[in-house]
Symmetry: C2
Subunit: 298 residues, 2 copies
Amino acid sequence: MNKEDYFLEKFIKPCTEICELFPLEVGDDCAVISSSKDVLVSTDSSIENRHFPKDLNPYFIAYRSVAIAASDVIAMGSYPAGYLLSISHPDPTDAWFKDFAHGIRDFNNLHKTKLVGGDLTKGSLNICVTVFGEVQKKILKRNAAEVNDDIYISNILGLGREGYKSFLDGDTSIPNQYIQPKLMTKKDVLHLNPLTNSAIDISDGFLLDLDRLCAASQKGAEISITNEILKTDLEDVVAGDDYILLFTANKSNREEIVKILPKSKIVGEIIEGTGLKIKNSLGKELNFDEFGWDSFKS
Amino acid sequence: MNKEDYFLEKFIKPCTEICELFPLEVGDDCAVISSSKDVLVSTDSSIENRHFPKDLNPYFIAYRSVAIAASDVIAMGSYPAGYLLSISHPDPTDAWFKDFAHGIRDFNNLHKTKLVGGDLTKGSLNICVTVFGEVQKKILKRNAAEVNDDIYISNILGLGREGYKSFLDGDTSIPNQYIQPKLMTKKDVLHLNPLTNSAIDISDGFLLDLDRLCAASQKGAEISITNEILKTDLEDVVAGDDYILLFTANKSNREEIVKILPKSKIVGEIIEGTGLKIKNSLGKELNFDEFGWDSFKS
């Protein structure tokens, strides 16, 4: 057996599982999706030294890579039902794959999701994850924000940034939103879905992702940055790596939303026009050179 | 606009197209698959210096990466209806993306397929392609070969190897199966589907892929390597990069199959037992140290 098949057979295949939605056992050239509903799909690459540091334990490489891909499906109002992995690795070992598979299994167990296929090839470390979720009540798009909508974040900003700092300090205790992003649960996603107008996940920075949502909706936003929405300081609004949900909803839904997501915060509202009007708690206007993370800035 | 969004907007988005099967316009966190049938899906990474050489024109990087991923869907009896791209690139430029997008458009036009979403991030050059195809009459699996089935290859072996040699010699004239793999047409795939029992695409080497099919089917194979199935010499049976179809079919279907695929060859038959019995045209047994390509051998 060649090495590629060896690792796939020994470590990846035991993490896979068939179910009604993915009925074909792993081992062919494709997986099969069998759904009576429309299916959301997103693909996302996590790359060593870009999305995770070189010395991160493979357990967290697996967990984090799948979680941040799954976050895109949650951002559109569904939950991750299953996913494919395309792994490239310069020099895999049994020890590496053992930890990696452990991360996969823990993510799957927590989120009741399945690994349904994958491949492995030699190359610099790159975990490409393709996630599927069945469309629920509605698809939450970026372009459907309405004027006067409340703008919500599902949790405070800066937890990913704080987690990254802890990791750099040698502290890998959990919870840590950077190395093991906590996502919204399936139950919360399903309850929230019909109450929201538009959504995006915060990955590249709160301001940047809000700007994308506003641009897609051809609307503006007026937001207030108060200490209660920040974990550490003002840099949290551009730091990214939050993997929480940014969404907009009609003001009439406030009571229901806070019941579903007690940690969520209203940070402002959608207005006519374009662009972001950002104020601090004293009403003073804030200006930012950068709204978030750019892959191509070093 | 950050650089990631710039390249996606300028070069990738114009290559995308909505249709009944992929009804959501690009620009959200996910694509949507809307099918009343089951859907095949495969994900495949093409990596610089592993799957394609460093100085390959981006036109061919795009074409080849999508083609070899699409080959997996064809191997299961369908055709590529649409796909997602996850591109990582160390330092993209307008010139690079212009050629890359040209390759995408040419592949899409020829195969009547659609790019339905993608992302871009900084990293070593890696094109991860996730391809979808609706299940047709049946799913061609590796595990369904029957004793006495004819074993077919859809074209001769070694065209990929020859194409690679031409490329190294500075000859990039077309046709070249390495830099621009020619796949089976949708029409041929659909006609062939009900006539075959099992299939796999030849990517890592004819013997290796046949061995995988036999192992999955818990059968053996007796094959005869004659000059008429080789482009150059005996190394063609282990060289890989063919991206042609290896399939098995009941002997009663010979006449129909040759009509659909006049270039196809019968190379042997499925037998009871396990493993490959390989003979040359004189009936002399041949032994091979390696059956094909192993990612993790350098």
